[in-house]
């Protein structure tokens, strides 16, 4: 075993030496260089036996499927800039994003595929760092990366690296979460502070030279979802408020359910650091992405169970009720402002652009 490790370390050393530490077009050519990259770096870093077979497909044991169980499938591309930010990086994000897209539907994540598009000239050590982080996130989520693909494009054709992950999950029989189950009187909740990821990435871009410690909330959510599903039978629907943030997600829920939502601004958890960044840049934290939070709807009679369940799980610190579902114009979201006014909340048109003055 240690002999194998030594051999691997030697191959890795040679890979770095031959390519002067950088990804070259040869690494995507399908020839020897590509095989060295995969065998000496990508596969051992991701570290799954199924992946190590290097076959054209991963073969998964479905286990014993109960009658009525279903498979869930999702895919997502990741292009975040900068690729490393406080609290995470593109590797961790790519794993968590797909795991969470499965989880919020109630599906237990079972396996991931990961495809890389690398820019010529990318440092191999950086690639290794991103893959190490992806693996750690996968282990945290209790899932393996079992298939993959690596392409290299000429310098300028992509921004460092792009990552695509595809996930497969298992839906237990009868699991049916979705906006179609939302009823008037239901309550809206979040699992923690909003906007951390969006603010962290914006600060990490460094355009504003803001010195503030905001960490991305990027985390796999399956364990929290399983916990809530087990403890709160009246759970109607879950979403992860990624692009477009909390506000967009609630508008989607309102549209999907054909009901109206009322949000209490005073109840919304937003960290002071995030509020500060938003105040300076003229942005609204409700539209900033989260990568480790749930937005959910629960039947009113299950509110005590929900509150107990949230306070019992470490990933739901700072979470709580933030609004309610009402009869009203379908798709309408109204927010009672902390100041005492009311305003409509809608999806953004285009990106949030900083205001002049």
């Amino acid at each position: 075993m240690s002999e194998h490790r030594d051999l691997l370390a030697e191959r890795r050393r040679r890979l770095f030496e031959v390519a002067a530490g950088r990804v070259t077009l040869a690494h995507g050519s399908g020839g020897k260089a590509m095989h060295e990259l995969l065998e000496a770096l990508v596969v051992p870093t991701l570290g799954d036996a199924e992946l190590a077979r290097m076959d054209d497909q991963a073969r998964l044991d479905p286990g014993t499927l109960e009658a009525g169980a279903r498979l869930a499938l999702t895919t997502d591309g990741f292009v975040v800039q900068p690729p490393v930010f406080p609290g995470g990086d593109i590797g961790r994000l790519a794993v968590c994003g797909t795991v969470n897209d499965l989880a919020v539907g109630g599906a237990e994540p079972r396996a991931l595929a990961l495809a890389l598009v690398l820019e010529e000239g990318l440092e191999l050590a950086f690639l290794e760092r991103i893959l190490t982080s992806a693996r750690a996130a996968a282990e945290e989520a209790g899932i393996a990366i079992v298939a993959g693909d690596t392409k290299v494009v000429p310098r300028g054709a992509c921004d460092g690296l792009f990552v695509t992950t595809t996930g497969i999950g298992l839906l237990a029989p009868g699991c049916d979460l979705g906006p179609h189950r939302i009823r008037p009187g239901d309550r809206l909740f979040v699992s923690g502070p909003l906007g951390d990821h969006g603010a962290a990435v914006m600060v990490a871009r460094g355009d504003m030279a803001l010195e503030v410690e905001v960490r991305s909330d990027c985390a796999p959510l399956w364990d929290l979802v399983r916990h809530l599903r087990a403890e709160v039978p009246g759970l109607r629907c879950l979403r992860d408020p990624t692009r477009g943030g909390f506000a967009t997600t609630v508008v989607e829920l309102a549209r999907g359910s054909g009901l109206a939502f009322e949000i209490e601004e005073a109840a919304l958890p937003v960290r002071d650091e995030v509020r500060g960044v938003c105040e300076i840049l003229g942005l609204d934290p409700l539209y900033l992405a989260c990568e480790g939070r749930l937005v959910g709807v629960v039947a009113e009679e299950d509110v005590p169970r929900l509150e107990a369940a949230l306070s019992a799980h470490p990933q739901a610190a700072g979470g709580g009720l933030v609004g309610r579902v009402v009869e009203g114009r379908p798709g309408r979201v109204v927010m009672k402002t902390a100041f005492g006014g009311r305003r409509i909340v809608d999806m953004l048109i285009g990106d949030q652009l900083p205001r002049i003055c």
């Binding site: 005492g340 009311r342 809608d346 002049i356 003055c357």
Partner: protein, 377 residues
Amino acid sequence: MKYVDEFRDPERARRLVAAIEGLVADIPTCRERPLYIMEVCGGHTHAIFKFGIEGMLPEEIELVHGPGCPVCVLPMGRVDDCVALAETPGVIFTTFGDAMRVPGSRKSLLQAKAEGADVRMVYSPLDALAIARRHPDREVVFFGLGFETTMPATALTILQAEREGIRNFSVFCNHITIIPTIKAILDSPDMQLDGFLGPGHVSAVIGTRPYRFIPEVYRRPVVIAGFEPLDILHALWRVLVQIRDGRPFVENQYRRVVREEGNPSALAAIERVFELREFFEWRGLGSIDHSGVRIRDAYARFDAERRFSIPALKIADPRSCQCGEVLKGVLKPWQCKVFGTACTPETPLGALMVSSEGACAAWYQYGDLDRVMEARA
């Protein structure tokens, strides 16, 4: 959060609203028609919508959203000039973010960027100067935009460029001044405003004296206001006190930032670099005398208008567009013929639909749109 929450205290807000309601009962005009109070500045418009202030006020008060959004009042021809500059080979065109989406007659800067022009968003003209330093082989043009709020930063950047001997930096100057514009609104025949919330950041630069003509000549109150929601309620209350007492004057509610004499060093920088243009074209309002500035001859080499050949065509506003009436407070945003139909934030016809500070875009984003559409149908 310190220095923010103090200005957003709902209990104080309730007390101020109660005081405003009390005053309204004492003002006889309110029995016949609403009082029209204009907030001049786009920053106020944004805050009013964001915090839901309009709905907290008694029906007797109608807020009129004024012309103080520099992005909104930019005429189409000027946006075309920006696009032409951005598409000039070798140019890096730098701009504040919210100017990117303003429609020109053919395209916006955002579209020009998508087609390959090198358009970059900056937060300050100094960022643009830094880009010029990094790219000595390229021409870097900064889109100078805004009222007296942003003018000093542009002026100081030009002075800095001169000190450093930077030769590849210039400013496409579209800076405008607020006073002639308020005067133009006061002089328009259909004007029916009862008072003003004066701009906060502009006044931090120019001080409070330039507004004196408003109470002295036009007998209207002006209260210079900060941008937090309590500032706005407080200033509204003070406007009403002046109306009730029949004694209009320039009052400074934003004393933590604004001084009577303004900011002398900022004013000196403006004076050194800029001079008044004879007239400047405003979207929706037409040409207003002495309402814009240009770069003085002494700094001509930093003037993009002299450095490049710019089409400078005058493009008429779309005929269906009623931005002018909305800017003057004659129409509410949703009373415009094309609001929400031909003119939406996705496809803005008029400038007020473009920036989140524009009255129409703010109304579209935060207002009760469905009810308006239903009422019109």
